[in-house]
Amino acid sequence: MSSKHLKFTRLVFLGIFILSLHSCYSVRFVSINGDEQPDPLSSRTDYYRDMQVIELDTVITAKATTQDINYLIKESSDCKSGRIHTIEFRNTLGGVLLSAITFGRKRKVKIKYVCQLETN
């Protein structure tokens, strides 16, 4: 391979690398009301310190007849109220490519969410 080609290949890889960096991002939606469900046993040291965080990293497959995909938030020990307080959505290059390659049938879901503390 000539040095010209090598340079070009490196540039392409560099471009893809930079593109992948920019295509990875997260957005956090936070309710202005209510307290987050606490987790007094948590030892996290990030934004979610003391919060009961549910992390979801999965691929949802849409049926041919399905237009909308609803992921249900149900009451559980980690989400006693069944109501969302904070949700962080993370987009990755892999997720975008998967959706593109499968024509939207497979959708990568990488989220963290915290439910509202039950009020009494």
């Binding site: 202005i32 009301n33 007094p40 934004y47 310190r49 039950e118 009020t119």
Partner: protein, 537 residues
Amino acid sequence: MASTIAHAKSEWDTLHHNGPFPLKTLYITELEGEGNLPDKFARYTDAAHEIQRLIQETKDAHQGFRAYGSRWSMNHIASHHDRMHYNGFMNMHIPTFATDMNANSNYHTDNVFFFQCGNTIKRVSEVLSAHGKSLKTSGASNGQTIAGCISTGVHGSGLDVGSVQDYVVGLNIITGPNPQDIVYLEPASKPALNDTFAQKIAGRIIRDDEIFKAALVSLGSFGFIHGVVIEAEDRFLLNRYVQKIPKKLALELSTTMDFANSSFKIPQEVDANGKPNRPYHYKVFINPYSKETDYVVEVMYKKPYQTPYPDPFPIIKESIYRDLIYVFIKIAEKFPKSIPWLIKRLRKTILPLNDLERVVTGTLPEIFWDAPYQGAAFACSFGVDHKDSAKALQVLTDLTVNEGPIPGIFAMRFVKQSEATMAFTKFPITCMLEIDGVLWKPNRRIMSLNQYGKRMIEELKKHNIPFTIHWGKNADWDHPGLVEHMFNPASIKSWQKSRAALLSPEMQELFSNHFLSDIKLKNQVTSPVIEPNDPIT
């Protein structure tokens, strides 16, 4: 039935990593479901009995017990090396009605609210807002539990308002495992609720001014504060301004509190004669390493609630991105002399400079909204008479610059005197002079936080400036004679005597911790203090 899970633990830490502190057992209690026990009083007393069961269990094991909420205190005041109880799920609100009011009460029925201990300031404010009401003041944020706030004396910067404990009008305290150990306590001179209400939640009613004032700031050692009765007020708006003003003027306002005759004037905030209004809140930010001739000040003026007003959240939500600071602190630990330079570079993230000339209007809970967790932090906070504020600031900034540098900046807030016996806001208007920053690791180039705390105490003493220290902040807490220096003997005696009136010697021991030992307030008073003719029903 309320249920508790006991977790075996070896250590516990504060939210801001000021520990860790040793711990054997962590209790987490959850209320019985509302569907199973719909009556609020039944659910509340059910929880009280569960707490009593835990107290009995702890007593039988000859161990100690301490309740905590959001663990925002930055020292070991909330910790116990034996057993701790997490209160955050105990967050009931029990409505009170005109029929619940004491015949001698001067409180407006609509302003009296009853909350269980684990309600956060945010939740309390939401309940009040739903009734068109507001807290009179809060701390700088909203995550602390109501019981935690009053136990440590949380304050804002209300010149004429006071601290959180100053609008508490009644307390429901669990002082032991027996039926009569569930106490409803309120001042005899200002009763709020009647016996019928009190008997639904307590086995004993005490109306006593001295005991009530002592129990307001209890340092967590008057038993388990289960319920808090507060006096709210009509919802109001605050207009917030951030300005740069000459240092001399900022300090003149701090030492005189004379806003009406000051040259500090915000055109929209004047009276009919054009004289400046007295603000609700006044705060001064001080970078001890800056030679600038101005200080940044934050002032707020109270206004009647009315809609519409501009959405305050676009400005309030701008959380500070601190990750960069942590990188810088790592540099600072190795090269302390770089701290002034680093703080100068970071001034836009640690001072509200982006808010200059931007007016924000919002309710109290909107203005003092969420403070996201930002990592390991320290805060040292001294209370001095506002007349001494400039002198104390000079003394402490000189110390910080000459013997530091320390990675933090100073601020001054001003709070009306509290009636609580051991309130650190004990001066007519107390200036809370605080330095906040990021925790660092001491080495031969930079002194430890404890050494810094010790030197601050020594310098204030050397310059004869009377002071107190915020109970929930960092300090050299076992400094010899510290509490005796901060409070007069009568106050200390009254506080200890009142504690003994509520708690048996055995329960005094159970509800004591290392913090109480460090400040030498653990000493038991064994003689019963409540006299037969005291107004106790």
